[in-house]
Amino acid sequence: MEAQELAGRVAAAVANRGLHEAVARSVDRHSYAALAALSPELRTLYKARARAARLRSVRDLADLAEQFIAEAERHGIVVHTAADAAEAVAIVAEIAKRHGARRIVKSKSMATEEVELNRHLAAEGMQVLETDLGEYIVQLAGQKPSHIVAPCLHMARDEIAGLFSREAGREIAKDTPSLTAFARERLREEFRQADLGISGGNFLVASEGAVVLVTNEGNGRMCTTLPKVHVALVGVEKLVRSFQDMADALRILPVAATGQLITSYVSIVRGPAKEGEEGPREVHVVLMDAGRSEILGGPYEEVLACIRCGACLDICPVYRQTGGHAYGSVYSGPIGAVLTPLLRPDREAQALPFLSSLCGACSDVCPVGIHLHEHLVALRARAVARGVTFASEHTAFRALRRAWTPPRRYRLVRGLMRGALRLGGGVPQLRAWTAGRRLPPVATGRVGELLRREGLIEERR
């Protein structure tokens, strides 16, 4: 049922060809830039180093968490741990309430999307404003981000100009300078007035107790320095051992994400401002598990090495047709189809690994070498084991196995099948194929006979 629902959402997304055009244009821009940014030799080297650094960190996650907490607290950061989404939300809400926060500015964070932080804080009467340009646009539209690094890549420029004009109460031209000028003006005011800043974190450096943010717009730095309180909500898998390990991953992150050799801002947060310094009076880090620890030590462990660059979305032949929303999950594309069923226990999430043609381009492009297509295949088996599959497929594959093994039976059955196929056989799978595709002519004889007749094969006994 869940698989069929997913198929329905996908069909609806595919029917929207404007969506495909907008998405394809953006992801191609990312992919081409990423490809052009590095020589194949450097790419191989950077990739190997990034993978090694991330895998080392994932392997030692428990120790790194302890070390991070000790180091961060030494610098005056208050560290909280959240076992699940509900705890994470409650911790952030409690901090906000304690400070009487009414206006909150936020930098881009997939972890906060995961726990739907904005919805919960809004329910407490707080006003939360997204300050990453793409996130701001998506928020104005009342939507969710459709891409890990480019949240509004599914939207057309006209649509964005319309949203801004409505927000401004006047006409905003659709050229980039006009659009960004409006956003800048609007957001500056919010940064000044906000009581609380919320961020995610691209890295948590254990040896330093530091939270590291990677942004292009500088909004992350504003969120973490202007309000008097800063809260970072970060998935525990973002831990790295050292600045060196961080650098190994950071070197390839902007390349893989947008083809930039270096990102505009790397902000390192090491604690609240000291006496006489400017900056937040309080810094909190919420270390969130929410399903990560269950992935640890199992066959999918390397998935935790993901640096959320979005390269697998950009290269994916499915994502470019559907965009991100069809996945019905915070994380979309190949990594979303792998990560979501691991993080979310619900049956709907288990169907996501089926949404892939298994072309494997994602595994090749991944800057930390996650074997995405292999995980997709394995997670399909896990979904089937949990009863999530397409209608009647279990019966069909059991029947196929019985009919086609052992080989002697296959020889007989394929002869019968050729007959049935020639008659146009009534199986539903065949109907789904022939709607839009013609089936090639079915062979009339046995291939072995043809080979023998031409004297092509050696007989052996």
């Binding site: 698989a3 198929a7 069909a11 595919v14 029917a15 495909h20 394809a24 032949p317 499915v318 047709q321 089926f354 892939s356 043609s357 298994l358 072309c359 494997g360 381009a361 595994s363 297509h373 295949v377 399909r380 088996a381 979904a383 089937v384 599959t389 397409f390 497929e393 594959f397 059991r398 196929l400 196995r401 086609w404 093994t405 052992p406 080989p407 002697r408 296959y410 020889r411 394929r414 050729r418 799978q429 789904a432 194929w433 709607a435 839009g436 595709r437 013609r438 089936l439 090639p440 002519p441 079915v442 062979a443 004889g445 291939v447 043809l450 080979l451 031409e454 092509l456 094969i457 050696e458």
Partner: protein
């Protein structure tokens, strides 16, 4: 060399020409060909999440092809499945591992085992080469198969602007998400250029069925889908 042929279920049911051509080219290159009893590689079940239903297929392959010097199949997809399945189900050591390493897709065999470089031949056509994903990404061959076509006289070889873009076949994916699968085929076919090439060459029957089937359903005449082995055969490679 004594080469055993794995014909694949699509080869048996729909593409016997590809199987025959594979055998002819290998034969002309001086190999002896054997045809052991066989069945499908089990991939339809495996990739749909029914691994236990796929295991007997791999078991049958291991049983019937045990000890092969080399096995050649006209499909990168089936070869990727056989290689993966053998080691997953029957261990990283011993005959399963050895057989996996000696199972080749046709172009892989010609390039890596035979050591063929730009073989001579003649075939008058404008052809576009489609990289099958399982050959390219699963078997890590990239677009190397094109080397086999570079010495063929009369052949004008074109490449897709987005050579790595999947055709949308994906096995059961094509029927689980039919609209999506067709949209993927259409995007691929948009890239054919004008006038269309005479033939579309690929080394996987699944891709050829998907793209060829889509061209035919839309009333198109060209390009004609053609397996790489068929092209090599008609060009007289090995003569």
């Amino acid at each position: 060399m004594r080469v055993r042929l794995f014909t694949t279920c699509l080869g048996d049911l729909f593409a016997q020409e590809a199987v025959l051509s594979t055998a002819r080219v290998l034969r002309r290159l001086g190999h002896e060909i054997e045809l052991p009893e066989q069945t499908c590689c089990g991939q339809p079940a495996y990739n749909s999440g029914f691994q236990e239903e796929a295991r007997p297929f791999i078991a049958a392959y291991l049983d019937k092809f045990r000890g092969s010097e080399a096995v050649v199949a006209p499909s990168g997809s089936c070869v990727a499945m056989l290689r993966h399945g053998l080691t997953q189900f029957f261990g990283e050591d011993g005959e399963a591992r050895r057989l996996a390493e000696h199972t080749y897709e046709m172009s892989q065999f010609l390039l890596d085992v035979e050591g063929l470089k730009a073989p001579k031949g003649h075939f008058d056509a404008k052809a576009i080469y489609h990289e099958s994903c399982h050959l390219s990404h699963w078997l890590h061959q990239g677009d190397r198969a094109k080397e086999l076509l570079s010495g063929i006289e009369g052949l004008e070889l074109l490449t897709f602007r987005e050579p790595q873009l999947c055709c949308g076949f994906g096995g059961t994916f094509a029927v689980h998400f039919p609209e999506l699968s067709l949209a993927m085929a259409d995007e691929k076919l948009q890239d054919l250029g004008s006038p269309e090439p005479d033939i579309l060459v690929a080394s996987d029957q699944g891709c050829l069925m998907q793209l060829g089937g889509r061209i035919a359903a839309k009333g198109g005449k060209r390009p004609e889908p053609m397996h790489l082995s068929v092209l090599l055969d008609r060009a007289g490679v090995g003569k």
